[in-house]
Symmetry: C2
Subunit: 233 residues, 2 copies
């Protein structure tokens, strides 16, 4: 009988924001798999480091960061083949995912390759979205409000159109798109309610008004545009 | 010295989807507070029931379900006053929140009343949004895709406008708005990719195509419109 593939969300970075289920699965895993971007240390592995058995087999998905998609897709093909062998031998594999596996996560590439042939269970995790809101003290949405999630790499005009028609907005993956995004928000007159959050829940976390945010933001950064904390009385 | 108020997300319902941090805080709490809607049992309390000390003081926020907002606001005023007394006596209070406190959660009403006077820490939790996606096997969004979250009670025309201009969509709080929402999705020709999820992660969970969903949905139900599981190869 084949093993099961678990795609396990580990939350935004603080190891205490791992769920009890994720902790149980990682702690029992004889094989773990995880992505490492462009040869750097795996963020997902670092979140779960304290839970991984020293005897566990580790499958590293070395995902290149290139504009072309083919090299990354080839990396997922290779990882899927390696994971398949373990599953076919009847052993479970726990794939470590930062945040939530299906919220802008790379696990969906493994899921697409393997869910037709094997049992796959996705274990949701705490997202950066709600973690940034919690750390900034900014409720995201309530009652009948809409919430829009936009990736920072979107074209300037599209960002402008989407933000101007929205209520609460979260802009992910700010990174090197900071200047463009800040220009759009400033142009819409929304700077006073824009908050920047970087590496939420980690010791090096930054929370500040967007006006004071660094020009070079890391990939794991977010801008929140909400109504603020006050109108809920 | 005043105590600290913790707003603790407990996840979507499965007690194993509680985070390690939430479990630690609830297990150590000498006072817990939680909402109970219109006199019924508290869903938040039921998620954490196995962690609450038998000696813990319990503050129940009995929130009436009325179209007018004033009765609910009065209930939060009353709860805030009661919680204030405990905090002023130097004791911490752990407020139990289903899902995530700042993602369509009622904790924001306490936060608005108390965060100016007391230390308040918000602990993010796993949302129904990513749990429904996980249980349905449907990645929400990847790369530069937009994600739109819409509450089901929105007017028909607004739902139609927002869905037709969107990529991935999650419609929360379906409940008695099922007929209206299904009509909108059908009218847009999107029924083939619409999936209904009810009480995700609980034993009574339902996942099915929207076409087969019940006419009377519970409040804790969601409709997902995504690209499906396949285009990620």
């Amino acid at each position: 009988m084949n093993g099961t593939l678990y795609g396990v969300g580990l939350g935004p970075g603080d190891p205490e924001l791992i769920t009890l289920k994720a902790a149980r699965l990682v702690g029992a895993a004889t094989t773990v798999a995880y992505p490492a971007l462009a040869g750097s240390a795996s963020f997902a592995r670092s979140i779960a480091a304290g839970l991984i058995r020293s005897s566990a087999r580790e499958i590293v998905m070395d995902v290149p960061m290139t504009p072309a998609r083919e090299p990354a897709q080839a990396a997922y093909d290779k990882a899927a083949a390696e994971i398949s062998k373990v599953l076919e031998a009847g052993e479970d594999v726990v794939c470590l995912c930062e945040g939530d596996p299906f919220f802008y996560g790379s696990f969906m590439y493994l899921f697409a390759r393997l869910s037709g042939r094997f049992e796959v269970e996705v274990v949701p995790g705490v997202t950066s979205l709600t973690t940034c809101a919690a750390r900034a003290g900014l409720p995201l949405a309530a009652r009948n409000e809409r919430l829009t999630v936009l990736p920072g790499p979107l074209p300037e005009q599209e960002l402008r159109d989407r933000i101007s028609g929205a209520e609460s907005v979260a802009i992910l993956k700010v990174g090197r798109h900071m200047s463009k995004i800040r220009g759009v928000i400033d142009g819409l007159g929304l700077m006073p309610r824009a908050v920047y959050v970087e590496r939420a829940s980690l010791p090096e976390e930054v929370v500040c008004p967007l006006a004071e945010a660094p020009e070079n933001a890391p990939y794991f950064s977010m801008i929140l545009l909400t109504k603020g904390a006050d109108p809920w009385l």
